[in-house]
C-alpha cells in the first residue's frame, strides 16, 4: 500500500509536468482543430536542448527558456509546411517529427541519451531552497504547479485578446475568420508555435526532473496529450469557464498518470504501456459516438413524457 501511495505521489508530480505538454496539445487539438504530431519531436527537443545546455554549464532555468524557444521554431516549421506549402496537417506534423528525431540526436552530440547525474537542475535548486521536509516528488509537484498556473494565466489572457480571439475563430470556422479579415495562415502558425513551445518546455522540465534526456522520450506524446485532454473533458465537461477548461486539461494529465501508476502496480508490463494508452485514447475518442447511440433515445423519452 505504501508503495502504491509513493508511486501515486510521483505520478501526480509527473502528471503536472506533462500537463504543460497537454496544454500545448489542447491549443492545437481543441482550439485550432489540428492534430499536430510535431509534439512527439518537440517534447524530446525540449529535453535534449535543456540537457545539453545544462551539461555545457548553463543555468537550468535559462535552459528552459531556450528549450521553449526551440519548440517555437519547430512549431513554425510545421505551420509553414502546412499553410504555405499546403501539405496536409497530419503529414506536416509527421515530417517535422521525423526530422526532429535526427535533429535531437545531433543536438545530444549523437548520443541517444544524456544523464544529468550530479548536475544542477531547477529541481535540485528548488530543493535546496525549500524546507527539508520536501521530498523529490513534492519539489517536482511544486515547480510543476507554479509553471502550469503561470502558463494557464498567460494563455487565459492571450486567448482573450484580439489575436487570441482570431486564433480561436480560425480553429472554429476558418472561412469566417478569413472573411473577417483574419490572416488564417498566420493564426495557425501562431497556434502551432505556441503549442510546440509549451510542449518543448514540458519536455525540458521532465528531463530535468527525471535526471536524463532521451531521444525517444517524446514517443507517444500526442497520444498521451489527447488522453489527458479527453479525460479532462469527460470529467469536467466543456461548458466550464475557459480557465477551468485548462485546469481540467492538466488535471486530466494527472489522472492519466495515476491510472498508469495503478495499472503498473497491478502488474501490467511496462512494455505494454503504449498499447494500453492507445486503447484508452481510442475508447475516449469514441465516447461521443457511443453517447450519440445510447444516450440520445433517453433524452427523447424524457421530452416525450
Amino acid at each position: 500500500m505504501e508503495g502504491l501511495l509513493l508511486s501515486i505521489n510521483s505520478a501526480v508530480a509527473q502528471g503536472v509536468l506533462w500537463g504543460i505538454m497537454t496544454l500545448g496539445v489542447y491549443i492545437t487539438y481543441k482550439i485550432l482543430d489540428y492534430a499536430d504530431l510535431t509534439v512527439d519531436g518537440s517534447f524530446a527537443l525540449g529535453g535534449a536542448v535543456s540537457a545539453i545546455l545544462i551539461m555545457m554549464g548553463w543555468d537550468p532555468l535559462l535552459s528552459l527558456l531556450i528549450a521553449f524557444l526551440s519548440g517555437l521554431v519547430a512549431g513554425v516549421v510545421t505551420g509553414v509546411l502546412h499553410t504555405k506549402l499546403k501539405i496536409p496537417a497530419i503529414l506536416s506534423g509527421i515530417l517535422s517529427m521525423i526530422a526532429l528525431y535526427s535533429i535531437n540526436l545531433s543536438i545530444m552530440g549523437g548520443k541517444a541519451n544524456i544523464a544529468l547525474l550530479g548536475m544542477e537542475t531547477v529541481f535540485t535548486k528548488a530543493q535546496a531552497l525549500l524546507p527539508a521536509g520536501f521530498d523529490k516528488a513534492m519539489v517536482s509537484l511544486s515547480i510543476g504547479v507554479v509553471f502550469s498556473l503561470a502558463i494557464m494565466g498567460i494563455l487565459y489572457w492571450f486567448f482573450g485578446t484580439e489575436i487570441g480571439a482570431l486564433i480561436r475563430a480560425t480553429g472554429n470556422n476558418e472561412n469566417m475568420a478569413r472573411a473577417m479579415g483574419g490572416n488564417t495562415d498566420r493564426m495557425k502558425i501562431l497556434g502551432l508555435l505556441l503549442s510546440n513551445g509549451l510542449v518543448a518546455l514540458s519536455g525540458a522540465l521532465v528531463a530535468q526532473s527525471q535526471g536524463y534526456a532521451d531521444v525517444g522520450m517524446g514517443t507517444g506524446t500526442i497520444v498521451m496529450g489527447l488522453a489527458a485532454v479527453i479525460i479532462g473533458e469527460v470529467l469536467f465537461g466543456t461548458r466550464i469557464n475557459y480557465f477551468f477548461r485548462m485546469t481540467s486539461v492538466v488535471t486530466g494529465s494527472v489522472i492519466y498518470r495515476i491510472i498508469i501508476a495503478i495499472i503498473l502496480r497491478m502488474g501490467l508490463k511496462s512494455s505494454n504501456l503504449k498499447l494500453f494508452t492507445a486503447i484508452i485514447v481510442a475508447m475516449a475518442l469514441s465516447i461521443p459516438e457511443i453517447k450519440a447511440k445510447f444516450i440520445k433515445p433517453k433524452i427523447n423519452l424524457e421530452k416525450a413524457e
Binding site: 482570431l166 480561436r168 472573411a179 473577417m180 479579415g181
Partner: protein, 258 residues
Amino acid sequence: MLKIRNLTKVFNIGTINEQMVLSNLNLHIREGDFVTLIGGNGAGKSTLLNIIAGVYMPEEGEILLAGEDITKMPEYKRAAFLGRVFQDPLMGTAADMEIIENLAIANRRGKRRGLSWGVTREEKTKFQEALKILGLGLENRLNDKVGLLSGGQRQALALLMATIQRPKLLLLDEHTAALDPKTAVKVLELTQELVEKNRLTTLMVTHNMKDAIKYGNRLIMMNKGEIVYDVSGEEKKNLKVTDLLEKFGSFSDRMLLA
C-alpha cells in the same frame, strides 16, 4: 465602386474536367447600387462573387474596387472592403464562440489586431444597440454560443456582422436559400433595412425571381459565365416574373427548375 474588366475563370486547367466558368465578363457597379443577380445553376454567380472576394484567382482580367486594383490581393486583405454573407448559415459565424465574440471579430474587419482585449466595454453597448434592430432578442443573449441559434438567427447575425464595419461592397450569395420561407422573408427585409440605413453598395445573388425584382435598383442575369441581361431604374421596377422567364427561356430552360 466595383469595376470588373475581361474577367475569365477556368477551373481544372489542363485536365479533362477543364471548364471555363466565366468568360470575358465585364461589370461596373456604381456606388449605392443594389444589384440583384440571377441565373441558372452553374451559371457562375458564386464563382463571380468568390473571385471578387479573393477566394479564387481569375485566369484573366482585373477587378477594381473604389479605384484600387484588388485582382491579386489575398482574400483576408480585401476582406477589409467587403462584407459577405453565404448561403450556408454555418459558414458566416463561429459556432463555438459567443455572440459578442463573433461581433467583436466582425467589428475588427480590416483593422490591425493586437494584444488588447478582444471585446471592449464600449463595444458591448454598440452591439446591444445593433442587435436590437434585428428584433430577435439577441441583445439579451450576448454571451450565448452562436451554435445555439437557429439558422435564421445565425443568418441575421451574419448579416449584421458583415455590415457592422461599413463595407465598400456587400456580397450576398443566396443568403436566404437555406431558410424556411417565412424566415427568408424576414432576413431579406432585414437586408433591405441594413442596406438602406448604411447606404451600402450591394451585390445579391438570389434564385428567387420575385425577390430579384422586388429588391434593389438593378438586375443582372447570368448564363454560362456571361452577363446576358442587365436592367435598372424604371425598366427594372416594371419587370414581371414572366418577362424574366421569357428572357431566360431564350438562354436556357434550367432556371425554370430552380
